[in-house]
């Protein structure tokens, strides 16, 4: 247990996806852990919770969200936080994560992970909101570095500096997505290892890997297909620097069978030096 929050290394897991529900509840396959997309199990009182309960009863789980909108200048949605906390308690999730981004403003929601201008104003704003959310949840929030396709001309720091300062000043955790590091590095022309060098690894509680789509002029974080070898190498490097940490594969488009998805996730073991 190497992170400062005492959160466990759960091993190599995969994201819980609806197309795999049938297989999971029929076979109860051996899986280290599942990441549950919290927003799919909120604002519902129906069938999604049936499966979340079943999975959480048998596997360790963590919650991963896309709608917290921690960087928005709209007021924090307390009803959303209350429902998130209830889901966390219901599933006994080990931790809760979301993205360093904003999703909407002025009451409108784009449902996208939009980029922030990395300025001192933004840093103060997000630090305050992360502290509020952590107080509300009574637990550290893990924030994930997003894939981005554009940066703001008025930024005063790069994302890795912003993330490190945010984590320090808000005392929050980090979900480091090495595929997102790779995607943003190509889209903005920086060295992904410069990013990895700046990460405070004692705050990293989880690593993400995923496939992406290379369009030549830019890369889209499509979560489709197997993980690129260069991304696996970044995973291995980040995992070693963190001294062992939970790993999670995201596969969200053209999702193959459970077995194929899980086998792809388990490739991580080759790169993190764990036993196969």
């Amino acid at each position: 247990m190497s992170n400062r929050f005492g959160l466990p290394d759960l091993g190599v897991g995969i994201g819980l996806r609806t197309v795999h529900y049938g297989h999971i509840v029929d076979a109860w396959p051996q899986v280290d852990w599942f990441e549950i997309l919290s927003d799919n199990y909120m604002h519902t009182a129906g069938r999604p919770l049936h499966f979340a309960d079943a999975v959480a009863a048998r596997y360790p789980v963590a919650l991963h969200g896309v709608a917290l909108s921690i960087g928005s200048t709209d007021p924090i949605d307390r009803a959303y936080l209350a429902e998130l906390r209830a889901l966390r308690d219901r599933t006994r999730a080990r931790w809760v994560s979301d993205h360093l981004c904003w999703t909407g403003v002025a009451g409108r929601n784009t449902h996208d992970l939009l980029p922030l201008p990395y300025t001192e104003e933004t840093l103060r704003h997000v630090v305050d909101r992360v502290r509020f959310v952590q107080d509300f949840l009574g637990a550290p929030l893990a924030l994930e570095n997003p894939s981005t396709y554009v940066e703001f001309a008025g930024a005063s720091m790069r994302e890795w500096e912003f993330l490190a300062r945010l984590a320090e000043e808000a005392d929050c955790a980090i979900l480091l997505d090495v595929n997102n590091v790779f995607v943003s590095a190509r889209n903005h022309g920086f060295d992904p290892r410069a990013y990895l060098d700046a990460v405070p690894y004692d705050r990293v509680v989880q690593l993400h890997v995923a496939g992406h789509t290379d369009h030549g002029t830019h890369i889209i974080d499509s979560h489709i297909g197997p993980v690129d070898d260069d991304v696996w190498k970044l995973l291995g490097e980040a995992w070693r620097r963190a001294g062992g940490v939970s790993v999670l594969l995201e596969w969200d488009a053209e999702i193959p069978s459970f077995e194929e998805t899980h086998a792809e996730a388990l490739r991580a073991r080759r790169f993190i030096g764990a036993a196969a």
Binding site: L114, A153, H218
Partner: protein
């Protein structure tokens, strides 16, 4: 009376992945500007930048970017291989593609009926007319049937058919997310004393939706699910109940007398009132045959999980 299962899959899954646009958008009449202050490009505050960005992203793809190239170059950076405007446009495509995907998940049979291009065009009208105002996409598509009945939607199909189909598919979504009350069983009914039956009322499963249509859309829905390519049917009144029992969703067609009886029970009529109403709908059958049929429906509805409890007359 037969019922059909609804295959799983209609839950649209949120993820952090960026969707990719696959179709060329057609002309969309309405726009969806971000409410509140104007997104002034000179406002370099965080809020100003967010309003500016959101306006650019939410403007229909068929329209020019609301921000000019020079303005975008001042606010955003160019990349190694793309100019700032092209980078911003990735977000505009992603915004629309994500919501089209969401609506396609909610309305797979409507999509089949319309075809890819017309469905995509309909979605873009929907997105421009109804921008999302909440954190969840679970209920984003709830206004589709109403839009299809209005003049705002394109109408390559009879409006009544398209709207009925959308209403059926939206009932499926609602039933997925509605709480399901535990089923009443025939054994449970056995505890009701015989003399209490006429005045007893049933409590409907909260995850059930009873629908009447101008078109036989459930039959069309099932044909598409069976992999067939059905023609758009002629108008003909139909009724369907969509409900969930545990994790499994079901659809069941109802004849007009069945619909009337079930609607009465769901509305809180006593068993005597609802079943008498159904019996009145039969013509030319003996009283014994009518009673046998009505009790047959009733037993099937109970055993299917359409009810969750019974309230004896004395409790009313």
């Amino acid at each position: 009376m037969s019922r059909q299962i609804v295959e799983q899959g209609v839950l649209h899954e949120r993820a952090s992945a960026t969707p990719e646009a696959s179709r060329r958008p057609g002309r969309v009449g309405a726009t969806a500007p971000v409410r509140g202050d104007h997104a002034a490009p000179g406002d370099a505050s965080l809020r100003g930048r967010q309003q500016w960005f959101a306006t650019a992203v939410m403007t229909p793809e068929s329209e020019p970017s609301p921000a000019g190239v020079d303005e975008v170059d001042r606010i955003l950076t160019r990349g190694p291989r793309l100019c700032a405007m092209d980078r911003l446009e990735i977000y505009r495509r992603g915004y629309h593609a994500r919501l089209v995907e969401c609506l396609a998940d909610d309305y797979p049979v409507l999509r089949h009926a319309l075809g890819e291009d017309d469905f995509d065009g309909l979605c873009r009208v929907y997105i421009a007319t109804h921008p999302s105002d909440g954190p969840s996409l679970n209920y984003y598509g709830r206004r589709m049937a109403a839009l299809l009945r209005s003049a705002a939607a394109p109408a390559p199909l009879p409006r009544g058919f398209a709207a009925d189909l959308a209403a059926l598919e939206w009932a499926v979504v609602e039933v997925i997310h509605a709480p399901s009350s535990g089923p009443l069983t025939l054994e449970g009914l056995g505890h009701v004393p015989a003399e209490a039956w006429p005045g007893a009322r049933l409590v409907a499963n909260t995850a059930a939706r009873l629908l009447r249509f101008e078109y036989p859309v459930n039959r069309y829905f099932q044909a598409v699910r069976n992999g067939e390519a059905p023609r758009v049917p002629e108008a003909a009144a139909s009724a369907t109940v969509v409900y969930r029992s545990g994790p499994t969703l079901w659809r069941m067609d109802l004849t007009p007398p069945m619909h009337d009886a079930l609607a009465g029970l769901v509305a809180g009529e006593t068993l005597e009132e609802a079943l008498s109403r159904a019996e009145a709908g039969f013509v030319g059958l003996s009283e014994e045959e009518v009673g046998r049929r009505v009790m047959g429906w009733f037993e099937e509805w109970v055993s299917s999980g359409l009810f969750s409890g019974v309230l004896p007359a004395r409790d009313r």
